[in-house]
């Protein structure tokens, strides 16, 4: 699999497009800023959210049992899945039992993580993603490139072309209003024809046994209110202890994600409809292991708002696909290596350590510090490229020997100014591809000090 820098370089090559992508996401970040600066208590809310989530992780087994008990009491079937495979099998067996042929699904990064769509399709079940962005990428047979705005990387002209081909919309039409209306008409039929609805879960409440799903489009609610069967899939870290905690989280979520004061629909499901059936699948898939790690535990605080992606200067300029992970961006660069360190070993380095992610995170995950810790882990696991390892070793060695360090500097000052340009600027010098090297001064600071500075 190509590393992040390779894929990022390919993305940046199309400068116009990379710029457009950067600006689209910066626009979302700016909306976020505007929204949060209207709430003087913003930092206090982040603090509470972080504390609540820490509590959850430290009491997770008890809270899960409490949740199961309360959900069951409200008539919900609760399932437990160790990994993606088991998750998909559970979902399939429920659908099979009800002889479901057509499913509508609202956005769920967890089902992306499990690759549920291809699994169900292989078993002859039609599954339609109903979030507009996610449906667009589904029509392209691609994964989302962003967890909140799955099609943020696609231009409207390309969507127009895709819709023309797949839905028969007018050729050349690319007006978002027109395209959205076509999608609405098309997906209405899918909603009406479906036999079951699958949703993700934004928050599950231990002490009520209910859960909350947030959308702007209303797709989760259409998909579940028209059908008798509702399956909700969630990671075990999505729990919160009390319904009151939602006051904190719903104030943070949409403001962080898109700069909206709240999503259009924040639906609270407590048990099935009188004539319906409701299932919840709780997925572990490596989460329990992360909960045991002092360094990375806080990554389980994540509420999937996407703010770290919108603010990340690297994500904005390299696109979601450059991360080759279901969840891209800063949080994805932590969760990816936790799942498969070797496969995702370039991700923690796809970061300038600017720390903007840490400052926007509504649940105060110390993202940039965790990325730094991952670099160390990767070095310890021997997954750092040889060139990096060697250069750092040599540098470390030289810096312990001040004389050697001075000597190297002096040599450079003698030699470099006389080198022809092609020796300095060539394919081995990544710095010099688009940047000049600094001019080498005649003397170092310490040499100047020796000559000019008298100790008083």
């Amino acid at each position: 699999m190509p590393s992040h820098p390779k894929l990022a370089e390919a993305f940046v090559k199309d400068k116009e497009r990379a710029k457009w992508h950067d600006q689209s996401l910066w626009f979302v970040r700016s909306k976020r800023d505007k929204a949060v600066h209207q709430l003087p208590e913003w930092e206090l809310l982040r603090e509470q959210a972080s504390k609540i989530k820490s509590y959850v992780i430290s009491h997770l087994p008890d809270l899960l049992e409490q949740f199961e008990k309360n959900a069951t009491a409200k008539g919900v079937h609760v399932h437990w899945a160790r990994d993606a495979k088991e998750h998909n099998e559970i979902v399939h067996s429920i659908l099979e039992k009800h002889q479901v042929k057509r499913v509508v699904k609202s956005k769920s990064m967890l089902t992306e993580e499990c690759h549920l769509n291809p699994y169900l399709e292989r078993h002859g079940i039609e599954i339609v993603d109903t979030d507009l962005g996610e449906w667009i990428v589904q029509l392209q047979d691609k994964p989302p490139s962003h967890i909140v705005m799955p099609a943020i990387h696609i231009k409207k002209e390309e969507i127009g072309e895709l819709f023309h081909e797949k839905l028969g919309t007018e050729k050349g039409a690319s007006d978002p209003q027109y395209l959205t209306e076509s999608a609405r008409q098309h997906l209405r039929r899918k909603f009406i024809e479906a036999d079951a609805g699958i949703t993700g879960v934004n928050f599950a409440i231990a002490d009520t046994g209910g859960f909350v799903v947030c959308t702007n489009e209303g797709n989760a609610d259409l998909g579940t209110s028209l059908n008798k069967l509702h399956i909700a899939c969630m990671g075990i870290e999505k729990l919160i202890p009390r319904a009151d905690d939602l006051g904190v989280f719903l104030r943070l979520l949409a403001r962080s994600a898109t700069g909206q004061p709240i999503t259009t629909y924040s639906s609270h499901f407590h048990g099935p409809k009188p004539d319906g059936e409701m299932h919840i699948v709780l997925l572990d898939n490596g989460r329990s292991e992360i909960s045991g790690s002092d360094e990375f535990r806080r990554s389980l605080n994540c509420i999937r708002c996407g703010a770290c992606m919108n603010t990340c200067p690297v994500y904005r300029r390299s696109g979601g696909y450059s991360y080759s992970n279901t969840i891209p961006g800063p949080i994805g660069s932590i969760l990816g290596p936790a799942h498969d360190t070797k496969k995702h070993s370039s991700l923690p380095f796809a970061c300038s350590l600017c720390a903007s992610c840490t400052d926007v995170c509504p649940v105060k995950i110390d993202l940039h510090h965790q990325l730094l810790t991952w670099r160390k882990e990767i070095r310890l696991k021997g997954l750092l490229p040889f060139s990096k390892r060697l250069s750092m070793k040599m540098m470390g060695w030289m810096m312990q020997a001040p004389r050697l360090y001075q000597f190297a500097g002096t040599c450079a000052r003698w030699v470099v100014p006389y080198l022809p340009r092609f020796l300095l600027y060539n394919r081995f010098n990544a710095w010099g591809k688009q940047r000049e090297l600094p001019d080498i001064p005649k003397q170092s600071f310490r040499e100047w000090m020796k000559k000019n500075h008298d100790r008083k």
Binding site: F27, V28, L39, P40, E41, Q48, K51, I52, S54, S58, P61, L64, E65, R82, L132, G133, I136, M149, I152, K155, K156, P176, Q177, L179, T180, A183, R184, I205, T208, G210, N216, E217, G218, N219, L222, S225, L226, A243, D244, G247, V248, R251, T258, Q260, P261, I262, T263, T264, Y265, S267, H268, H270, G271, P274, L282, D284, S288, E289, G292, R297
Partner: protein, 205 residues
């Protein structure tokens, strides 16, 4: 099934996670910091407008009817449902419908809302889970009828009012359905309602 449950729980219990305390959200040090607004319904109206909804303050149900009649989307609606007595001119009998799919052609639904939230323009609605739950999402246009006294400042106050003891469905609805999934261009009317009007009604109804 139980094997997986036991496995996950034992995996979790195996990890040593430092204990951590749950903050008390009712403590005065916090609640004193929550934002306040001098006029809740004014703030709600302003916020709802900013998310492309419309709030109209009226005296009673008769005035709701007058204002509805002035709304172009209402005038153009062919199928109209109402769950509020004497409100609107419904021509679909809700009680006769048992399959929610039959609401598919409803153009305008007049529905009850319980209370509104000033900080974000949301209205809490709840539903017993019968077929009418679908109306909130399937109707092309929606009007929510809410007592004018029922506006809370923020989400903390909202949750003080809510309990979830029994099986139930409820949602905060904040403006019409929307999406910006195509190049961040805001489009109103994604899958749910194309317009949302909240009537804050002074008199009991």
């Amino acid at each position: 099934m139980t094997a997986s449950k036991d496995h996950i729980l034992s995996q979790l219990r195996k990890q040593s996670v430092p204990a951590s305390e749950l903050p008390d959200l009712q403590q005065a040090e916090l609640t004193q910091q929550w934002i306040t607004y001098p006029d809740l319904s004014e703030q709600f109206t302003e916020l709802l407008a900013s998310i492309k909804g419309l709030c109209l303050r009226v005296k009673n149900v008769e005035e709701v009817n007058q204002r509805l009649a002035e709304l172009p989307v209402y005038q153009e609606s062919k199928q109209i449902c109402s769950l509020i007595p004497n409100c609107g001119q419904p021509n679909v009998n809700v009680n006769e419908i048992t399959d929610p799919h039959d609401f598919n052609d409803v153009d305008f639904a007049i529905l009850p809302g319980e209370f509104c939230v000033a900080e974000n323009g949301a209205t809490w609605i709840s539903n017993d889970g019968g077929p009418t739950r679908t109306l909130y999402f399937l109707a092309q246009h929606i009007a929510l009828i809410v007592p004018a006294s029922e506006v809370v400042p923020h989400m903390h106050a909202a949750y003080e009012r809510l309990t979830f003891e029994n099986p139930s469905f409820g949602t905060f609805m904040a403006g019409p359905s929307k999406t910006a999934d195509i190049e961040q261009s805001l489009v109103i009317g994604a899958h749910g309602a194309r317009s949302l009007t909240v009537f804050l009604v002074d008199d009991a109804f």
